[in-house]
């Protein structure tokens, strides 16, 4: 009898171990160049943040970051997105290699000064959460082609823009590893779990 129990326990342990955590997917197209797989990654960019600091790909060197697209005067989904992004900000406070990057899709209105004021009112620090503005075309292009997020102007929309409420998870090699609905608490919970999973890859 006790042997049977032992057997059950052993089998249980083995099968438990086999259920390895699956790595996060890598989004986008991949090519094989000289035998190496080259993955889709975030294209080169240069924006300016709320402290007038220049933000480029290098800003996030050896960093994991979460990106989104919003604008300060948006009254529909953005306040919810910012509430959820603040949760991400707060729950990653102890993680030195996790940063946040919010792009305005209304750069004409959202000047550096306005973004500065917005970040201050949200009560967040610019060394962990960058709010960036830049050339409108570059922002729309990088949203669509690098982050696979929707962002464009549309005067017929209530806010004047079409944009997705997506949060994008980017790894240390600038690859897109996850896409979440930033207006849904449960989906953002999933993001919080995935950030931990992604960090494990670098341990």
């Amino acid at each position: 009898m006790s042997r049977l129990i032992l057997l059950v326990i052993v089998v249980g342990l083995i099968s438990g171990c086999e259920k390895k955590v699956k790595p996060l997917p890598i989004f986008g197209q991949r090519e094989v160049v000289n035998g190496d797989t080259v993955y889709h990654h975030i294209a080169k960019y240069q924006f300016v943040d709320q402290d007038s600091a220049i933000i480029t790909n290098d800003t996030f060197k050896d960093q994991i970051y979460v990106a989104d697209f919003f604008f300060t005067s948006c009254r529909t989904i953005c306040p919810i997105m910012k509430t959820q992004m603040l949760r991400v900000y707060e729950s990653t406070a102890e993680l030195p290699d996790v940063k946040l990057l919010s792009h305005t899709i209304d750069p004409e209105y959202d000047t550096v000064a306005l973004l500065h004021d917005f970040a201050r009112k949200l009560g967040v620090s610019s060394d962990r959460w960058h709010f960036v503005t830049g050339a409108k075309d570059s922002i729309y292009k990088i949203a669509q082609t690098s982050y696979f997020a929707t962002a464009m102007e549309d005067k017929s929309e209530p806010d004047g823009f079409i944009h997705s409420g997506a949060f994008l998870l980017i790894d240390k090699q600038q690859r897109l590893r996850g896409k979440y609905d930033g207006t849904k608490e449960e989906d953002v919970n999933r993001l919080l779990v995935d950030i931990k999973r992604l960090r494990k890859e670098y341990e």
Binding site: R75, P79, T83, L86, R120, K121, L122, G123
Partner: protein
């Protein structure tokens, strides 16, 4: 009489249980509408409708919890501004608000867009909801009152 007997008759623990049961029954009794008059039915209807309208038009910014967001969107769950300015609140629901505004000693200065399509009844429902949720307990806010206040909103803001 029998309650007194109950409470004194047996061991301490048993008494405690009975006491809790008694409290529980009292709580239930006080929760159900004290009078079945039209007012409390009306209050219930306003509150329920108001909650739905709040979730459609307001919770984006102020959140379902009424907590707001940093210094961007002021809180409603606890707000001295709400307590002291019922008329202004009725007006800002319909016409919006911009400029400086102080809530619980903190300064806010963002634009709140109004919702001009709301009817007086809907505004009374939303007001009833926010004025009886979280820490507030102001009772029913009547349509007649809302209508009267709305006639005097012009020039405010």
């Amino acid at each position: 009489m029998s309650i007194v007997y109950w409470l004194t008759s047996s061991g301490l623990e048993k008494n405690m249980n009975r006491f809790l049961l008694l409290l529980f029954l009292l709580a239930i009794a006080s929760c159900s509408p004290g009078n079945s008059s039209g007012d409390s039915v009306k209050y219930q209807q306003y509150f329920v409708q108001g909650e739905q309208l709040y979730n459609t038009h307001c919770s984006n910014c102020h959140q379902k919890s009424g907590k707001g967001l940093g210094l961007l969107y002021p809180p409603l769950d606890e707000s001295d501004y709400m307590t002291n300015n019922l008329s202004s609140v009725i007006c800002l629901i319909k016409y919006g608000k911009s400029g400086e505004l102080i809530v619980n000693g903190k300064q806010y200065n963002q634009v709140m867009p109004g919702v001009p399509i709301l009817t007086d009844l809907e505004i009374a429902e939303i007001a009833t909801y926010i004025y009886n949720s979280w820490t507030h307990d102001e009772g029913l806010i009547e349509v007649a009152e809302v209508t009267k206040v709305l006639q005097q909103c012009e020039g405010e803001d």
